[in-house]
């Protein structure tokens, strides 16, 4: 059972709003809120600075400004007020003075800084230097001074009423220009201004807070300034590699930075899901999402058979647990590391790119701010009528009638297994010997089936709109010594099939600086998640290996559940009624109530760290991370479930006198499983930062060790009675006769234990040197070793390295190119690799966790086979990039070109299976190269009251196999089915996943047989066409099976408080195979296809259709030829409207009276569907990867964010 939104749900629970007041969830939420409040109280104690008067003695060389100011502060009773973000732009200071006054000192320090300072009452406020035009205006004598208030008094406080010390109060003239008249607030937040002109205005500014203007008055009273938090992002884009945070302009590698605003244009409870629509160079491969992993691909493929998933880092450490446990509301920013220079610091696991998630944290000198985000999302019911794998009921009955006439079911009627026969076929059989009256009735029944569509019932009884509620409350703040942030989130999802998934996240992050050179960090995130299965979806109701019949009624006219034949024939089941057997019928509409799977997750993510500045410029940074995720599953098939009844009946032993013994006791079947994942990470590193003159070095070096441990156990109880808590016993040790077939079989055992440990030890170093901030040289190196079983010691350490250079061309004195005032060029080259767990140097075996049934002994199988020919796979990446800004700052962007070269890539090589180890083996089978371009263009199209800005992310990534060491070129190895696009079709000069098809010569006009070419001749010899005689050279090659060009186009419009964001995703340059009709599958497993109605039926149809005529007996080669031919390949190109987000920020004057600083209501529409596609069949290429996939239904979210 799975838990995706389209899976089962719980029917009788229709609670759609907040949980009930007395529910457990609610109780938990209350506790969460109380905890949060407590935390607020604890951390809002602000630290005040001690004040001593003194003259100042300084001797520093090339010291950062912050350090200089700290020194001044220590030696004086002056305090500084500034924003950390400004100081990052500061120039280093060299100063040598003895017993200087404060003024002398400050003049000296600020001589070469882009800042000005103001002193008021022992408070020194540092602000950026005003722009030339502003300061000119400020210096002008003010002609408009007409009448004046002799005195204006007031007090400036923050939103919590704390006085703001050192806030600037300026007088603006009638035109709103700044005048020279200004002052700053004192220690208690008070200010006094004299001679304020009557028609002027007062402007109150304070770092980190929104500027407020107001009319002057003699007593203004209290002015409340609200904190602004986005200032940092505006000032400087920082990229976080997980090991260090560095300014964007210091980085040589390829990074994509997703800020909080962009990230929050989407809703939903999954972090990674949001990235596709907004990240340059990132694409989601939806084949992969249906099989394993999240399908995220950064810059196409880097490996063939190695692990393909990206590495996800949360707060500096790889996240081992389920990414769904992370609350997107806790995310501050996301950095995507795309090239070797960016990712190589992560070593062996970074071959596919790295996504670094940083969670929210407080800021120094920031009053408490509270944020809340609440969203309700409603998702549409999936479009069952758009399903491909559905056949019209009338057609299906006609096929059954034909098969019945042909005797297809003859042996099934006499089978002792009494395996299921469809209701219509049962009726056809009964009709042969029925009375005239009964015949008429049977005909009516068959007519009913012909006209009944199971999808109608599904929509009436099973599916409903999905509802997702998300509530989040976050608090953060900081004093000089303590910075903290905490949050509580609650999510509740109810899927289209009423499956429930609820999640509580609690988070606390704090940093403490007891002394100046020491920072202690502690953070804890606790997640609890509960899931409960829902109703069965279309395609999930099956019988033996058959799919649901298209005419199955789920309920009668009164809505009562109808039995669906499952396992056994209906007449046989009916014949047992009234006997000693339990009811052997299966009711799809009832069964899910008795077959409930509950899963709960508890996730603890703990981070602690010590950062100690040993000497100026060298810090020792030690971080420890602990993760523990416990997943427990309780799968109860109670005594009324079909499974439990079926097992009891199946293992009933009927004595000749009719007495029954139950070898499987009556009662429920309870499966319990438990998985505990624990990981410890410890990292120690030295951070070195040293500036002298125009030179600057930033470096880090260190080591880390990680150990991840997974322990699982599972067991099954038979005959479970949940009321009185009893369980029964079964005999697993010998085969028992099964009813009714009489064959013997063991009672299925589900017990097992396993334990796995993955350890890594790594050493890494990274350094960058910059000269005049114009030339930057960077390098990084890392070695990893792991305990992956059997690796020979000399292979355990694998080095990864990268190097990069960047040149700030536009800073050169000779640069005069006015059209592009800002230009930076970057180049990196690096080396990464992939570990494949299959790569072992010895033969290994795995023990089965159960003893053998027969001998009651331990048994084992081979797990890996010694293969001395294996090598590490290696990838070399070159990245060339240019960052530019056009004149007027309206258009900026980045163009990156990359070239990847993979050697010794792992792949499944076909093997002569006479060797006895299977038909394929993992080997270094190929080399590949990839070229690509990532372009990001940001433009500010209109910048008036109405604003329009766009971001275009455009990527091209095409990989090509340069060498493939495979001998077998049989065509059958190169054709793939609709769900098999991940198959490696390795062939030199072609993409890793290429689309091929059998050459198609149309349908035979005489009989509707599909025809192909063999040796240039048109033929219907399907054995030849699909057999080993047909070579890859006989196939038609289309192109890549994965998009080669993809991107997103984001547009933002804003007018006053209203913003509209629209995201469009495009995927181009690829082919896919559509699902199609197979007569063999239709006859054998009831799996039809919508195109049945378009099949060839009479001469002339071949002009309109490619669907072959119906034949009996089915020819599996004929089906295969058609299904894998050119006729079922379509172009995949499409453009999708991913989301539209309409937000309205409520005007401050409306909400400030309640102390609310900002509030936003938003309406978000997502998964809006395809707006253009190349194929005319109406197929969404992204959602055709597995049977019965209905696509991602549209969603509407309504939300409210506020901040106070």
């Amino acid at each position: 059972m799975n838990y995706q939104s389209h899976s089962k749900g719980l029917a009788n629970d229709i609670t759609l709003s907040f949980p009930t007041p007395f529910g457990r969830q609610h109780f938990r939420l209350l506790i969460a809120m109380k905890l949060t409040l407590l935390l607020i109280l604890l951390f809002s104690l602000r630290v005040t600075a001690d004040i001593h008067a003194q003259t100042i003695t300084l001797s520093l060389k090339n010291a950062p400004l912050s350090r200089v100011l700290e020194e001044v502060r220590k030696q004086s009773d002056y305090d500084f007020v500034y924003d950390d973000a400004f100081l990052k732009r500061a120039n280093p200071v060299s100063v040598s003075m003895r017993n200087a006054t404060m003024e002398q000192t400050l003049n000296r320090i600020f001589a070469r800084q882009p800042f000005i300072y103001e002193i008021y009452d022992h408070i020194i406020t540092i602000q950026p230097k005003p722009l030339a035009s502003e300061s000119a205006a400020a210096d002008m004598p003010d002609p408009t001074l007409i009448l004046a208030y002799p005195e204006v008094r007031g007090r400036v406080v923050d939103s919590l009423g704390n006085p703001l010390v050192g806030a600037t109060v300026r007088v603006l003239n009638a035109e709103g220009k700044r005048t020279t008249l200004q002052t700053t607030t004192d220690r208690d937040g008070y200010f006094l201004l004299r001679n304020v002109p009557e028609d002027g205005q007062l402007e109150v500014t304070y770092v980190g807070h929104a500027t407020t203007s107001l009319k002057p008055a003699a007593d203004i009273g209290i002015v409340v300034l609200k904190a602004v938090q986005s200032e940092l992002e505006e000032v400087e884009v920082m990229v976080n590699t997980g090991y260090q945070t560095l300014p964007r302009e210091r980085a040589t590698g390829s990074f994509v930075q997703i800020d909080n605003d962009l990230f929050n244009q989407q809703t939903g409870s999954n972090v990674l899901e949001r990235l596709e629509a907004i990240t340059s160079g990132l694409m989601v491969d939806r084949h992969a999402t249906t099989t394993s992993g999240n399908g995220i691909r950064i810059r196409g493929l880097s490996t063939i058979s190695g692990p393909k998933d990206v590495l996800v880092i949360v707060d500096n450490f790889p996240y081992e647990g389920d990414i769904n446990n992370i609350n997107p509301n806790d995310v501050e920013s996301v950095t995507v590391l795309r090239d070797a220079a960016a990712a190589s610091i992560w070593g062996a696991r970074a071959g596919n790119g790295v996504i670094v998630i940083t969670t929210k944290r407080g800021k120094a000198n920031l009053p408490i701010s509270v944020e809340s985000n609440n969203v309700v999302t409603i998702g549409a019911i999936p479009d069952l009528y758009g399903l491909q794998e559905h056949m019209n009921s009338s057609d299906f009955v006609a096929v059954e009638e034909m098969l019945y006439q042909k005797g297809y079911y003859n042996s099934k009627f006499t089978s002792p297994t009494q395996a299921v026969i469809s209701p219509v076929v049962e009726l056809l059989r009964e009709r042969e010997t029925a009375s005239a009256e009964r015949i008429a009735q049977i005909d009516r029944e068959i007519k009913f089936y012909r006209n009944h569509d199971v999808r109608d019932d599904y929509l009436t009884y099973m599916y409903q709109r999905s509802i997702n509620q998300q509530y989040h409350l976050g608090l953060r703040g900081g004093s000089k010594k303590m910075v903290w942030s905490s949050s509580a989130g609650y999510d509740h999802n109810s899927s289209v099939l009423s499956a429930k998934d609820s999640r509580i996240n609690l988070r606390l992050h704090q940093e403490y600086r007891p002394v100046n050179n020491l920072t202690l960090t502690a953070a804890i995130t606790y997640t609890q998640r509960q899931q409960r299965s829902g109703k069965p979806g279309y395609g999930e109701i099956t019988t033996n290996s058959n799919f649901i019949l298209p005419y199955t009624p789920l309920a009668d006219d009164h809505g009562n559940a109808i039995a669906f034949p499952k396992g056994l024939r209906i007449p046989f089941v009916e014949s047992l009624d009234g006997g000693n057997f339990l009811d052997w019928r299966y009711y799809p509409m009832e069964d899910y109530k008795h077959d409930v799977n509950k899963r709960s997750y508890q996730d603890v993510f703990l981070n602690t760290g010590v950062n100690y500045a040993i000497v100026p410029g060298i810090q020792l940074d030690v971080k420890y991370n602990y993760q523990r995720q416990e997943t427990s599953t309780e799968d109860l098939k109670d005594e009324k479930s079909f499974y439990a009844r079926d097992m009891t009946n199946k293992y009933s032993q009927v004595a000749p006198n009719g007495n029954i013994t139950y070898l499987v006791p009556k009662g429920g079947v309870l499966n319990l499983s438990n998985r505990t994942l624990q990981s410890h990470n410890i990292r120690g590193q030295f951070n070195i930062s040293y500036d002298w003159g125009p030179h600057q070095i930033v470096a880090l070096a260190g080591g880390e060790a990680r150990s991840a441990h997974i322990k699982t156990k599972q067991f099954r109880y038979w005959g479970y009675n949940g009321t009185i808590m009893t369980v029964g016993n079964v005999d697993y040790t010998q085969p028992h006769p099964q009813y009714p077939s009489g064959g013997t079989s063991f009672i299925p055992n589900n017990d097992g234990v396993s334990e796995r440990t993955t350890n890594f030890v790594s050493a890494f170093a990274n350094a960058s040197y910059s000269f005049r901030k114009r030339y930057i040289l960077s390098g990084s190196v890392r070695r990893d070793a792991s305990n992956l079983f059997g690796l020979a010691t000399n292979d355990q350490w694998n080095p990864f390295w990268s190097t990069g250079i960047s040149w700030n061309v536009s800073d050169e004195p000779f640069y005069r190119f006015g059209t592009i005032p800002s230009l930076k060029l970057r180049a990196t080259y690096g080396f990464s690799g992939n570990i494949n767990p299959a790569m072992v140097a010895v033969t290994t075996m795995t023990y089965f966790s159960n003893l053998t049934y027969t001998t009651q002994m331990r048994s084992a199988r081979f797990n890996n086979f010694y293969n001395p020919e294996l090598r590490w796979e290696t990838i070399k990446t070159l990245n060339l990039a240019a960052d530019f800004k056009l004149k007027g700052d309206r258009i900026s962007g980045t163009i990156e070109y990359f070239h990847k070269q993979g050697k010794n890539l792992f792949g499944e090589a076909q093997l002569d299976y006479t060797a006895g180890i299977g038909s394929s083996i993992t080997k270094n089978v190929a080399s590949m190269k990839a070229n690509g371009v990532d372009i990001t263009l940001n433009s500010l199209n209109i910048d008036r009251t109405f604003k329009w800005s766009s971001v275009l992310n455009f990527s091209y990534a095409a990989e090509k196999i340069t060498d493939f060491f495979v001998r077998n070129m049989s065509a059958s190895n190169f054709v793939t089915f609709y769900n098999g696009a991940n198959k490696v079709t390795g062939m030199s000069g072609k993409p890793v996943h290429a689309m091929f098809g059998y050459r198609w010569a149309g349908l035979n006009p005489e009989n509707g047989n599909p025809r192909g070419y063999f040796d240039g001749e048109i033929t219907e010899d399907y054995r030849k066409l699909t057999g080993s005689d047909s070579q890859v050279s006989d196939l038609t090659y289309f192109g890549s099976a994965l998009p080669t060009t993809y991107g997103t186009f984001l547009n933002s419009f804003s007018y006053k408080g209203l913003t509209l964001d629209v995201s469009v995703i495009l995927k181009l340059g690829y082919y896919f195979r559509r699902p199609s009709l197979s007569y063999s599958a239709l006859y054998a497993s009831w799996s039809g296809h919508v195109e049945y109605s378009e099949r060839w039926q009479k001469p002339g149809d071949e002009a309109k259709t490619d669907v072959p005529s119906l034949v009996y007996p089915a020819n599996s080669n004929r089906d295969r030829f058609y299904q894998y031919s050119e006729a079922t390949v379509l172009k995949g190109d499409h453009i999708r409207l991913q989301y539209v987000n309409l937000a309205y920020a409520l005007a401050p004057q409306w909400i400030s009276r309640w102390g609310i600083q900002g509030a936003q209501v938003f309406l978000n529409l997502s998964n809006l569907g395809i707006i253009w596609k190349a194929n005319e069949e109406g197929i969404d290429p992204d959602y055709i990867r597995s049977l019965y996939q209905t696509g991602n239904p549209r969603r509407v979210s309504l939300g409210l964010k506020f901040k106070f």
């Binding site: 100690y612 792991s786 992956l788 027969t854 084992a860 086979f865 293969n867 002569d912 006479t914 060797a915």
Partner: protein, 455 residues
């Protein structure tokens, strides 16, 4: 003094780093999965041989599918899911098996042979290889390898004829686990020599009786040897080994104790089973495989096998339900078969009374206690042989033995011609037709470059 203070701090940091690194070695040597092991003890090797999916399963059913114990109706033939199934039924020249992996008996056969090969390869380097347990493990590996090779030889090589065996194609004999070695077909003589050599080497190493019938035993090895020599038409040796097998234990199931109304009257691992083994064939499912009426007609009044082995379908045809295994077709060694081999060899050697004694011993256990049993009588060796061969058909129906019998008897001029009707078309398989060796799966030929059987 300030400088020294910095040095101290650096020293502390360095020590921290060193302590941190010293734990690395331990981390790297920890096993990544507790259930994983490098085969390094006798227990490990025994566990590998114990794998129930390998040793006693994975035998090919294609021989039984090609023999005349059963037939399919046109309807059921048409309803077969794959073309390969249909082609096997009509003895097509080629393209008889699914490509690649699953459902392909060549694949599962060699899959089963890899285990013994690997065990034999590991064994000499493992402590205790010369102990009783070590020898026992070696014996089991040799036994299973030989048994699988023998059963595969019945499907993919021509019947053994001492005169031509050195010229005919045998199986590729893979005797060690190195999968990088190419597959090369041995001669038919070499194939049988290897089988006999392995079995003979296994005999002294194995336990006399199996600890469970899924385990190899000396008795089972004698049984397979008897079967191999019979197929080689070395009746002297076949009789000797059948006798050796029966000397150890010769208990039979008394069919009077079985419930003939049961859907599966014979239980798996019963006391008549010496070595349990089975094979699976798509054509042999009881629901579609109708019992050959000529065979059904052979059972006389009082013969319990008529009720125990068969169930009558509503249309009057019969299905087989007398399997010795819970699934598939039993092709293991059981007392009944051994008695019949010994009887046949006695008869061929002219020991008529001994032959009849074995026949009657078997028959008594199959005979209804309420119907008077009339023992077989025969005056000549030829009569006795005929009686035995007819009894083989009765007793060993759907045991995977008929194909091999047709092959060897036709070499002796029995002239058994098989015919099958499918879709109204009659297909005939003449005696000694090259198709008595089935075509190897085409993709194996392609991947290995081996020679295909001649058509």
């Amino acid at each position: 003094m300030k400088v020294k203070y910095h040095h101290q701090q650096l020293l502390i940091a360095t020590i921290t780093a060193l302590v941190f690194l010293s734990g690395c070695e331990k981390l790297l040597n920890e096993p990544s999965d507790k259930s994983l092991a490098v085969p390094s003890s006798l227990e490990d090797l025994q566990a590998l041989l114990e794998n129930p999916d390998k040793s006693s399963a994975g035998f090919p059913a294609a021989g039984e599918e090609s023999a005349d114990d059963y037939y399919l109706t046109d309807e059921d033939y048409q309803a077969l899911y794959t073309v390969w199934d249909q082609r096997r039924y009509i003895w097509a020249d080629d393209d008889l098996f699914a490509q690649g992996g699953s459902g392909n008996p060549w694949y599962s056969g060699y899959f089963a042979i890899y285990g013994p090969n690997a065990v034999l390869d590991f064994l000499p380097n493992i402590e205790g290889s010369e102990t009783e347990t070590g020898k026992y493990i070696k014996g089991q590996a040799l036994f299973w390898r030989a048994f699988h090779y023998y059963e595969m030889a019945q499907v993919w090589t021509l019947p053994y004829d001492a005169a031509t065996a050195s010229k005919e194609l045998g199986l590729p004999l893979r005797l060690d686990p190195d999968f990088n070695k190419p597959s090369i077909r041995s001669s038919l003589a070499e194939t049988y020599e290897q089988i006999l050599e392995d079995l003979k080497a296994a005999v002294p190493l194995l336990t006399t009786r199996p600890i469970h019938s899924v385990r190899a035993s000396r008795q089972g090895a004698y049984g397979v040897l008897a079967r191999v020599f019979l197929a080689m038409r070395d009746y002297d040796n076949a009789g000797k080994y059948a006798d050796s097998c029966l000397q150890i234990h010769s208990e039979l199931l008394d069919f009077n104790t079985l419930d003939a109304s049961d859907r599966a009257p014979i239980k798996a691992y019963n006391h008549e089973t010496i070595t349990a083994a089975n094979s699976f064939g798509d054509l042999l499912y009881a629901a579609i495989a109708k019992v050959n009426p000529q065979v059904y007609a052979l059972y006389q009044e009082g013969d319990l096998r008529k009720q125990v082995f068969f169930e009558t379908n509503p249309d009057g045809t019969h299905r087989f339900k007398g399997n010795f295994m819970e699934y598939g077709v039993f092709n293991g060694i059981a007392t009944g078969e051994m008695l019949l081999i010994r009887a046949e060899c006695y008869a061929r050697a002219g020991k008529v009374s001994s032959a009849l004694e074995d026949l009657n011993t078997l028959l008594r256990s199959r005979w209804d206690k309420d119907t008077p049993f009339v023992p077989y009588v025969a005056s000549t060796a030829e009569d006795a042989k005929k009686l035995v061969l007819t009894e083989r058909r009765r007793e060993l129906i759907m045991r995977g033995l008929r194909w091999s019998d047709i092959r060897r008897l036709n070499l002796e001029g029995a002239g058994i011609t098989q015919t099958r009707t499918a879709n109204g078309k009659v297909h005939t398989l003449l005696p000694n037709d090259p198709r008595y060796a089935l075509a190897l799966p085409e993709d194996v030929i392609e991947r290995s470059g081996m020679v295909q059987n001649r058509r």
